[in-house]
């Protein structure tokens, strides 16, 4: 109990068990809230799902309407001595229940694609991941070396950073039409958008990380006779590597945010296309399942990368 209270204090201490409990609650509480809203009719359920239209002509089975309208229809039918419409309280169509989403999610992995490309979540998602992967790789191949050089060589910083700072403020979607004109309508412009969205941030963030390297380490290595490329590869890069790794993790998240834009230009594709299609058909359980998949994959990757990072850079963690 004391430990529980301490974990709420500013900079308080927590033990391992409490951290695990909080971690589980972090997932469970939102799910419980969602379940309560979905399954307990008295919590929200502002609409009625028609199960039997009765005598009302404009009603159909499976239709949703506001409670007040439904009540009016019922009284109307009662006054006209016709069969009364039947219905059950329900949430709006845009809020499916956890069960519906779960079954859509399971369905996505078990069923094969009915027609054409990308009719299942998994296919659409695989396409999205390919776009992200190549976008991020291409951006990193240019951005990481350039960022390190900007951070360590003043002349490069002066030459490159003003231009980068300018492009950084141009929203990546603004390049959409240009990218399509130059690169065609398929995957190339999408990858280009991800690169444009990520690269400029990447250069500046990594330049900053490089600048923050403890300068006394550079000075110490200079008095030991290190200079030029040796200084760069033996001191600067190993010294910033843990922070560089963390930056890349954060930038990968940035790349994901540009995915939505990228997939809407040229021919729509990938998970975004899947989501917009399903939303058009009002299959919101599929929409939610797709969103959950993005979240789970994103969180999973980040957690794996985090664990790998702690394993790789033990000296940094224990250094405080």
């Amino acid at each position: 109990m004391q430990g529980f209270l301490a974990s709420w204090r500013l900079y308080g201490r927590t033990d391992r068990m409490l951290r695990n409990i909080f971690g589980i609650l972090a997932v469970l509480l939102p799910l419980l809230l969602w379940s309560a809203v979905s399954y307990l009719p008295f919590v929200w359920h502002p609409q009625v799902l028609i199960t039997d239209p009765g005598g009302e002509e404009y009603l159909e089975t499976g239709m949703r309407m506001n409670r007040a309208d439904f009540a009016r229809a019922v009284t109307e039918m009662q006054e006209q001595h016709q069969p009364v419409p039947q219905g059950i309280p329900s949430n709006p169509v845009y809020l499916p229940s956890p069960g519906d989403v779960l079954s859509a999610f399971v369905h996505a992995f078990t069923s094969s694609a009915p027609v054409g490309a990308e009719h299942s979540i998994t296919q659409a998602f695989a396409h999205s991941i390919r776009i992200i992967f190549w976008g991020f790789v291409i951006s990193s191949v240019m951005g990481v070396p350039l960022g390190i050089m900007c951070g360590s060589i003043p002349a490069v910083a002066r030459l490159v950073e003003p231009a980068v700072d300018f492009f950084r403020y141009l929203p990546a979607p603004a390049f959409g039409a240009l990218a399509v004109a130059i690169l065609g309508i398929y995957d190339a412009p999408k990858i280009a958008i991800i690169v444009i969205g990520t690269l400029f941030q990447q250069i500046l963030v990594i330049a900053n990380t490089t600048r923050k390297l403890d300068f006394s380490l550079v000075e110490a290595s200079r008095t030991l006779g290190a200079k030029g490329l040796r200084l760069l590869f033996r001191v600067v890069i190993p010294g910033i590597l843990p922070d560089l790794y963390r930056d890349q993790r954060i930038l990968l998240g940035w790349a994901w945010t540009y995915l939505i834009v990228a997939e809407l230009i040229g021919t729509s594709s990938g998970i975004t296309w899947f989501i917009t299609q399903q939303a058009r058909y009002q299959h919101f359980d599929n929409v939610f399942a797709a969103m959950a998949l993005i979240g789970i994959v994103g969180l999973g990757t980040d957690m794996v990368l985090g664990v790998v990072g702690r394993k790789l850079f033990t000296w940094k963690r224990e250094n405080g």
Binding site: L217, E219, R222, L224, G225, P238, N319
Partner: protein, 306 residues
Amino acid sequence: MIDHVEHALPDYRILPPDVAARMEQIKKRDYVLEIDRVTKVFTQKRNRTVALDSIEFGVHRRELVCVVGPSGCGKSTLIRILAGLEDATEGRILMDGKPVRGPGSDRGMVFQKYTLFPWLDVCRNVMFGIEMGGVDRLEAQRQAMQWLQMIGLEQFATAYPHQLSGGMQQRVAIARALAASPRVLLMDESFSALDAQTRTKMQNYLMEIWRKIDITIVFITHDLDEAIYLADRILVLKPHPGQVEEVIEVPLSRPRRAEQMTSAEFLATKAHLEGLIRSFGASDDMDEDEVTIDLPLLTLVTDQVE
């Protein structure tokens, strides 16, 4: 307290015969490191601060020189110029008679901060300077292990710096600097972050190493005891602008022992140094006894409650 002792103290300038003989010997040797009218001016907007003003000094081979002075006398700037980490505004640094520019492995440095590479284990840290000298990996490792043996840390060869205490880290830093086989070892308040006990131990370590290898040491400190205990000669700088005030030849015989710190010669030298430093005034890290503290009564203090 010093005043009533002072009458009984000998003149710090009178060297005991053995020390005088040693001093003669040292002075016959060539200069390894020469500071040739070095001036350093910092310009910040319209403020011009003269940190060092025409410093002239020569360090003989295998000499141990300490540089003391109140804060603001530019002693840290001086050692950074010696190391090549900063450029002198005027004047030059000569190594074995040849002017040098920029840092180089002929002038090793041990910093006040712990500057071991945290991503390398102890052995690799010591190997760093050797490898920079173009020695291949296996040979570098062999030499590094010898150095670790010398400082008594060979069992920590595979430990990482963060696993070592501050004193051990500085020992490794000294080994790392020496392993690159410099002519001069520059030490910038290297022991000031350590606790008093460790510091005394480190001073003895340093002198022990210095006896065994051909190395010239320039040691910056603000601790007068440390300066007198270690040095053959003490270079006293005065602040605003930084100039050489005096060069003191320490009247203590070698090898030095902790008991010498209570000898009359030691106390006389220290009294003189303290007097010098105090005469510079306005220094904030040494003459704390001059500060008169005038506090109002903050809490209820009575005879019952101490």
